[in-house]
Amino acid sequence: MGEKVQVATTWLQSCSGCHISLLDLHEELLDVLDLIEIVYSPLMDIKEIPRVTVGLVEGAVANDYNEEVLREMREQSDILVAFGTCACFGGIPGMRNLHLLQDVLARAYVETESTVDGIIPESPEIPALKQHVHAISDIVKVDYMIPGCPPPPQMIKNAIVALVNGEEIVLPTKNLCNDCKRKHDSMLIPKRAFLTEAVQSAPELDKIDRDKCFLEQGVMCMGPATRTGCGSRCLDANMPCRGCMGPTPDALEQGAKIVNALASILPAGGLMFNEDVVGTGYRYSLPVSIYPHRADDLEEEVNEEENEGDEQ
């Protein structure tokens, strides 16, 4: 065995779940550590990012500090990998783009039920929140993506092994239905009729047939509009897909695509009543959607133009 590949990891706006998923390799982590040396990571007390071959970035860009760290990681990494859905698509933190920044701050620091005489902090010590949350590809050039919330441990391992061997990270391109083991009958009958008369909400999970397509039972499932590769863990646990792997490569975005599809298969009235259409369609990918923030949220445009100059 030659010299180990130098790897740096960091997390921006995220929950650290992708790093935990890496640790979830358990004993197999030792195989990975035979190939790589992690020289910088949030779990280590090292101040400066050294020059590395591979940089893994978890998390979205939500404040100025995130952006600074991201740019430094890009600078120091030969290969920069968006590690997990927040980095790839903005993820859960990206849902903040549905609100104006001042409303978010007011909610967090003033309006929460337990707050008394709250004030919105203003200090140069605290990194300023950006107007919008961004996927890291909005800010810097990204070489590869490992999507998933979090990406399954095996997927992370395979990606690292590929890079160590000088290969590309190849993601599957089909949707989750391709790997779904549930029975799939009504969807294949060429008949113009909704699959069900009513739409059930996910909390009624105990009533759901474990072996039958969720949509055919009237349960909202994002599988059709979601890239496969997750190993269908949720489906196996009788939980419908929530779309964390993001859109397939041919779709412009996940939210509009699932709206287009559902309109011909489930009764729209039931969906509007039972489901948060926006939250369902854009839960993980709002910052990379066609219209990634509110129309009345204009201040950012100046900043975005500044950023464009730095993109490659």
């Binding site: 059709p224 298969i265 066609i290």
Partner: protein, 528 residues
């Protein structure tokens, strides 16, 4: 790829409003071959165009002239499309900029030249983003199906049978009882000799060796293309025919036949021709209507339909443009959404490979499955996704003057687009900031396009679609309505006023209603 641009002055109708010389210079500077002509519908200009195509070896041609509808629905103009194809240009590389009906006639003043450039750029984009379509040659079947043993049905059957065609005549009732098709009052009005001609006619088809009769029979399925249709009768019997003549005028029966035959209907619920001047032609060149207002016109219509049909079926070969929805098998995961969406039973899942496949003999190219496909694996040969997005980007670059709103008008091929053409021909006007984009069907309007239109700066999105029950593709407008109902929540979440999306039902001849609706929309957007 070298693209030619042919700019027609339309005998000054276009050139009086649009500065054609400026367009010439602009596109020459872009390295595009430009030719001009006074009237592209004249033989001289058409010859010049064909010579230019051959000499310059253009692989694509943009025709900046009158509405493409003229080229597609009238006999004299559609001939030139065939000649252009014969000169070596794939049918998918012929694109139109509608500079007459949708620019010079309804618009004037500032912005007209810039809008002309936008429309031409969109046409260039269509050529650049469209792959060649396959053109297949098939020998036509010399047989026909007559639907309805009415007076015209019986005469059409006789004519065809005498010409050597195998004729199948289907009627939901008895064959030979024409009291159902003609009232005693009407009978009393006509010449006795004509009356006498009819009873023997029924006998004539019954006795004719080339005629097979199916009384008290209904159709359960019809699919295929001119020259080769498959017809399934109640009970399962299958007929193979080259063409179909529809001879019923009964609104109830029409509504039953419509989802099987896919022929457009008018506002009264009767089958309608593709062009009011050509009363027997439908938009499917193998299906004809033979229905008159009285016995005489019934017989004339039967003769006209038979002549039209045999002029095609007598050919040795018929060209078919394979205009289907395509599947990216690397992305399709076999979910079946397209199967559920397609009204024409043209999509199915190949279970062995778990990918969706398209039956080219059933697909009508409406694009509803392309929109419904949650992965984006499906795409439409004639209106690809990448073209639609690029077209919206180009039109979004148009600068309106002052506070005038910018509206993307996505107009369906069946109604919205011809209604806008009609408005121009009626001399009606609307603001230049209304930018038309032709779509195959309201069912082709992807909600992604609507979001993208707002992203590139449109103040409003107007969709002109067929009235309820009259969609070319049966369910395109209802599917758009379902999608829009869910999609409005997406607009609200982005703080985009849902009133900025307007969906309007318009019949193809209602140019006045189109202008009324679009002007009202523009006024609302302006805040009047």
């Amino acid at each position: 790829m070298s693209i030619g641009l042919c700019l027609c002055k339309c005998n000054r109708t276009i050139s009086d409003v649009v500065n054609i010389d400026a367009l010439f210079d602009w596109y020459r500077e872009q390295g595009i071959d430009v030719m001009g002509c006074d009237e592209l519908c004249s033989a001289d200009c058409q010859n010049e165009l064909l010579n230019n195509i051959r000499e310059n070896e253009w692989s694509g041609i943009v025709i900046g002239a009158c509405s493409p509808k003229h080229y597609e629905t009238t006999k004299n103009q559609s001939a030139i499309l065939q000649l252009i194809a014969d000169a070596g240009i794939n049918p998918n590389k012929i694109a139109f900029a509608n500079l007459r009906e949708q620019l010079a006639l309804p618009n004037s003043g500032d912005g007209v030249l810039e809008k002309a450039k936008c429309l031409i750029d969109v046409a260039i984009s269509k050529i650049e983003h469209s792959a060649d379509v396959l053109v297949e040659e098939i020998p036509p079947r010399r047989s026909a199906l007559i639907i309805g043993a009415s007076i015209s049905g019986v005469f059409a059957a006789l004519r065809l049978a005498d010409a050597g065609y195998k004729v199948h005549i289907v009627d939901k009732g008895e064959i030979g009882d024409f009291s159902e098709y003609i009232t005693p009052e009407e009978l009393a009005k006509i010449d006795v000799s004509l009356t006498c001609a009819m009873t023997p006619s029924f006998a004539g088809i019954k006795m004719h060796p080339n005629v097979v009769m199916y009384p008290e029979t209904t159709l359960t399925d019809v699919y295929g293309r001119v020259g080769d249709y498959t017809v399934q009768l109640e009970g399962g019997e299958i007929l193979k025919v080259g063409g179909i003549i529809v001879c019923v005028r009964d609104a109830e029966l029409t509504s039953k036949l419509r989802p099987i035959l896919h022929i457009d209907i008018d506002s009264e619920g009767y089958f309608r021709p593709k062009n009011p001047a050509f009363v027997v032609e439908t938009r499917d060149p193998g299906k004809y209507l033979a229905v008159g207002d009285d016995v005489r016109s019934d017989i004339l219509a039967a003769d006209s339909a038979v002549l039209s049909l045999t002029s095609i079926l007598d050919k040795n070969e018929i060209n078919h443009i394979i205009e289907v929805s395509e599947v990216d098998e690397d992305v399709c995961g076999g979910c079946g959404t397209c199967v559920k969406t397609c009204m024409f039973h043209a999509t199915s899942i190949d279970l062995a490979r778990n990918v969706s496949v398209t039956d080219a003999t059933r697909c009508v190219g409406c694009g509803n499955c392309v929109v419904a496909c949650p992965t984006g694996a499906r795409d439409l040969v004639r209106y690809p996704n990448s073209y639609m997005i690029d077209a919206i980007r180009i039109l979004g670059g148009f600068k309106t003057s002052g506070a005038s709103p910018k509206v993307l008008a996505m107009l369906c091929d069946g109604s919205g687009y011809p209604a806008a053409d009609r408005a121009g021909l009626m001399g009606l006007t609307y603001p230049t900031g209304v930018l038309p984009l032709r779509v195959s069907c309201a069912g082709r309007v992807d909600t992604q396009f609507i979001l993208y239109a707002f992203k590139v700066g449109f103040d409003g999105v107007f969709i002109g679609e067929c009235p309820e029950g009259a969609c070319h593709n049966i369910v395109g407008n209802t599917d758009l309505a379902r999608r829009a109902n869910l999609f409005r929540a997406v607009l609200r979440s982005r703080a985009i006023d849902t009133d900025r999306l307007r969906i309007e039902e318009i019949s193809p001849l209602e140019g006045d209603l189109f202008v009324e609706a679009i002007n009202e929309f523009v006024d609302e957007l302006r805040g009047d």
